[in-house]
Every structure is written in C-alpha cells, then in structure tokens.
C-alpha cells in the first residue's frame, strides 16, 4: 500500500484539471486560509487576529508554549469551534461547508485507550462518516504507520508510540486533503518520532497539507517546511531558520516550546 496517498492525491489533482501539480491551474488561493481569526472564551482572549495561508503539499509546524492556543486553533481550522472574529476557508470555501475535507488528529489524552476495540477497528472509524476513500484503506494505513502486524490487538496493548501511530493511521483513512495533527510526537521515543516525521513528509510530498502542533524546537524542527510560532497571537512565521533567527535565541525557543 505504499502508493496509497499518491493514488488519492492523483484523483484530487485530476479533479482540479491536471495530474501535474506544476501545470495545475490555480484556484482562488488553493489551500487552507485563516484570516484575522480571533477566539474568546468567557471574555478571555485565547487567540487574536491570526492570519496565515497553508499551500497544498506543505508540512508546517505550529509551535508555542502550553496555553498558547494551539489546540484551539486546530479546532477552529476544522470548524469544531466558531471564531469570535475572522474566517477560515479551504480553497475559498468556508470550512463549515467542507469540514470533512479536513481531518483532525486529537491529542493522545483525548482517547479512551482502554476502550474494547482492536487497532484495525479503531483505524476504520476514520471512514465512518464518508463513503469516499481516504489516502489509504485500513490495512494500507496500518502498514504505513508500521502497525500492520498489530491490527488484531487491543488498543491498550500498544505502547505509547504505537498508540500515536494508530491515531495517525485512523487519520490517514479519512478522506481528507488537510491533516491537522495535535502533538503527534508528544511523549514518544526518538525512533517513533523519526518514523512519524518521515511519514508526514511522505504525505506532504504526495500533496496533502499538514499542520502539526509540536513542542519540538531543536533539530527536529528542520523536518518542517515552515514554522508558525503561536502565543495567542502569531509571533513568527517562516522557515525553521527564519523563525529561529526572528526569535533570535534558544531561550526564546525554550519559552515558546516549553
């Protein structure tokens, strides 16, 4: 199933008129766009005037300290929350009207890992609400995340890193073009982290748009095309080097990435 995402994205590109991304006729700013997005909760400012645009096929890190509003922003981008001001659009369409084109992988803590369910059934939930095929079928997604041999195991029999990969596997099964991943690399060992980063790169190379909230600040940040630094407002936006330069030193990195 190594060609799973590519198959899906080829269909996506054909739907846009050509199989060659270089020759594709640009739509009105394709990709995910947040425009002046603010969010308040109980009169408390959580996010203020967030504006950015993610192009198709990009791999972007969203970094910031705890409480910076990273998870809230991801939920706003997937239309689970309504912004107090501003708008979010995918290919010029308000996300409320196309939320199934955007998949959100929640944080590990949101899942009941003791639920009586096998890894394969868990991954299959990704296709529950849409008959359209996703990047991969269940077997393909589990192969991609390295859990093909664990398909029949209960979720709570997996290690922490394997559970993160199972979550990503479920996200891959969803028929989405934009993947929002909420701290997929949290609390996992370096080999699992490398595997996940490599997989995310494959997916973005295949044309999917990925926004990944992360606490990485060191060399791992180089795995991303672009970095957004969030602390209620957008503090920095650029390539990893540009952002490091803009924030100037490691101390700032420690502050923004905990």
């Amino acid at each position: 199933m190594e060609g799973g995402p590519i198959r899906s994205m080829a269909l996506f590109r054909r739907a846009q008129g050509t199989a060659d991304p270089a020759k594709r006729i640009p739509l009105a700013m394709p990709g995910l766009r947040a425009c002046g997005v603010s969010y308040h909760y109980s009169q408390q400012r959580v996010l203020h005037q967030i504006t950015f645009h993610l192009r198709p096929g990009s791999l972007t890190a969203l970094v910031g300290p705890n409480g910076a509003g990273k998870s809230t922003l991801l939920h706003l981008l997937q239309a689970q929350l309504q912004p107090s001001a501003g708008a979010v659009e995918l290919d010029g369409v308000p996300v409320q009207r196309c939320r199934r084109r955007i998949a959100l992988m929640p944080q590990k803590g949101e899942i009941d890992w003791h639920f009586p369910i096998t890894v394969a059934e868990f991954a299959g939930l990704g296709r529950l609400t849409s008959p359209r095929p996703g990047c991969c079928d269940v077997d393909g997604a589990l192969q991609r995340v390295g859990l093909g041999a664990m398909a029949g195991k209960r979720l709570d029999q997996l290690s922490g890193g394997q559970q993160q990969r199972a979550l990503l596997g479920r996200t891959l099964v969803q028929p989405a073009e934009v993947l929002l991943l909420d701290e997929p690399c949290a609390a996992i060992d370096p080999p699992s982290r490398q595997l996940l980063l490599g997989l995310m790169r494959q997916l973005s190379d295949a044309g999917l748009t990925l926004l990944v909230s992360s606490h990485d600040w060191g060399p791992a940040l180089n795995a991303y095309d672009r970095v957004l630094v969030l602390d209620q407002v957008l503090r920095a936006d650029g390539t990893p080097d540009q952002v490091r330069h803009a924030l100037d030193d490691v101390t700032m990195g420690n502050h923004y990435c905990g």
């Binding site: 639920f115 369910i117 939930l125 029949g152």
Partner: protein, 262 residues
C-alpha cells in the same frame, strides 16, 4: 405452569437486558446518568398512580425529565468530573425526594419497597412483554448505532469532528436507559438496577476486543447472576432483588481477587 416460571423468565430477561445498557453507559462515561434516571422514576410513578395512567409511562417520562434537567444544568460550561457528579446527585436526590413527597400529598398508596428493591414474585405476563420489548428495542438501537457509539466512546473529540449527530445519539441513549430502568423495576427495583447494569458490564469489558463482544459477555453474565440469584433466593427464602444486588458485588470481589491472585 409452575408459579416460579414467570419470575424466573423475568429474572433471565432482566439479567440479559441491564448489562447491555450498562456496557454502553460505562464506555460513554454516563453511569451517573443511569443512576439519576433510575431514581427519577419515582415522581412520575406517583403521578401515574394518582391519575390512573400506566406506571411505566409515568416512570419513563419522569426519568427522562430528570436526565434533561441535569443536562440543562450542566449545559454550556466546562465542568470537572466532580462538578458533573455533584449536579447529577443533587438532581437525583431532588427527584427521589419529590417522589416520596408526592405519595402523601396525592393521597395514594405505592409499595415503595417493591419499587425500590423489586419483587420478582409479583411478576405478571405484561412485565415479561415489556422487558422483552425493551430488550428488542435496545438490540435494534445497538445494531443501528454500533459504530457511532464506538466512535463516541473511544474518541468523543474525533466523533464531534467527524460531524456525527452526537446530541441525538446521547439523547437516544438516555431514552433507552430510561426504558431499561422502567422495565427492570419489577425484578430488581430502581435502586438495585444499577448493580445489575454495572457489575456484569465491568466483567464483560475486561479483555474484550469489541464493544459487541463485551456486551454479549456482560449479558450472559447478567443472566447467570439474575437467574441464579432468583433460584438461590427461593432456596434460602430471601427477597430476590437484594440478593441479586449482593451477588453483583460478590462477582466483582471474587473476580478482582482472582485477577490479583493471577
């Protein structure tokens, strides 16, 4: 037909019915709501007796009202589990108190002991029909909403993100729970029903690889506890409802002890 056949059949049906509901409620984190629903039956029961209506209808409506009042009080704000439990228990106490108050106020007579703890020996054929209907309804709900229920249980955030009608699903679950509670009143009463919902469900959930498997195992365990409890009560000349409640705790104690020993 021997006099004990009907009660035994009702005990078996109730034993099959309650743990399925309990399994769903445990994995959805809504056991407290089931406890509230079971106690909120009383005011509706009293009103139904006073106005000559079917007691099961009164109990059903009253328990649903209790669940809706609690949901409304919790609506729109974030709560800790403790806050959630505090609101649920307060509404539970309020509805239980209201039910007890209505009995003298309306000048009616209700066998409170049988309502609270059940009395299998008073089983009528209509009780069997009602419990059988409830089992069928629950089975249909389980089959029709199986995957959304699984999604909601394992990942509420993801289920919300996928656009599932979660509110409708939760309301339907509350309705089914109320129906199960009312149908089980004759066998174990509104106080003890929670034991028959939870103990077999906890046993069924252990090591199960699917929600369906857990529910099936819980249901089979419930039938053994309930049917066995009834027969034991006959042998020992004890009230069956409370004995079934004690057996439920016994199951947990023995099972945990055995697990610890292993």
């Amino acid at each position: 037909m021997s006099w004990w056949i009907l009660p035994l059949l009702l005990a078996l049906l109730t034993g099959a019915l309650c743990p399925i509901s309990g399994t769903l409620l445990i994995v959805q984190g809504r056991v407290m709501q089931a406890n509230l629903i079971s106690h909120a039956v009383l005011p509706g029961l009293a009103l139904a007796v006073a106005f000559g209506l079917p007691t099961s209808v009164g109990g059903l409506l009253s328990s649903l009202l209790g669940a809706l009042v609690a949901e409304r009080l919790l609506d729109g704000t974030r709560h800790s589990t403790a806050h959630h439990g505090a609101v649920m228990n307060t509404v539970l106490a309020g509805f239980l108190g209201l039910g007890v108050l209505l009995v003298p106020l309306l000048g009616i007579r209700i066998d409170l002991e049988a309502t609270l703890f059940g009395d299998l020996l008073l089983t009528r054929p209509v009780d069997l029909l009602q419990t059988g209907g409830s089992l069928l309804l629950q089975g249909l709900f389980f089959a029709a909403c199986y995957r959304p229920l699984v999604f909601l249980g394992v990942d509420p955030v993801g289920a919300a993100a996928s656009g599932l009608p979660l509110r409708a699903l939760q309301l339907a679950l509350a309705g089914i729970t109320a129906f199960v509670v009312v149908s089980s009143m004759a066998a174990v009463g509104v106080v003890l029903v929670i034991g028959l919902m939870c103990a077999p469900a906890l046993f069924g959930l252990a090591g199960a690889t699917s929600l369906g498997q857990a529910a099936f195992r819980a249901s089979a365990t419930g039938m053994v506890l309930s049917g066995g409890g009834f027969l034991l009560a006959l042998l020992l000349n004890l009230p069956p409802g409370p004995l079934i409640g004690v057996l439920c705790v016994g199951l947990l104690v023995v099972w945990r002890g055995w697990s610890f020993h292993r």
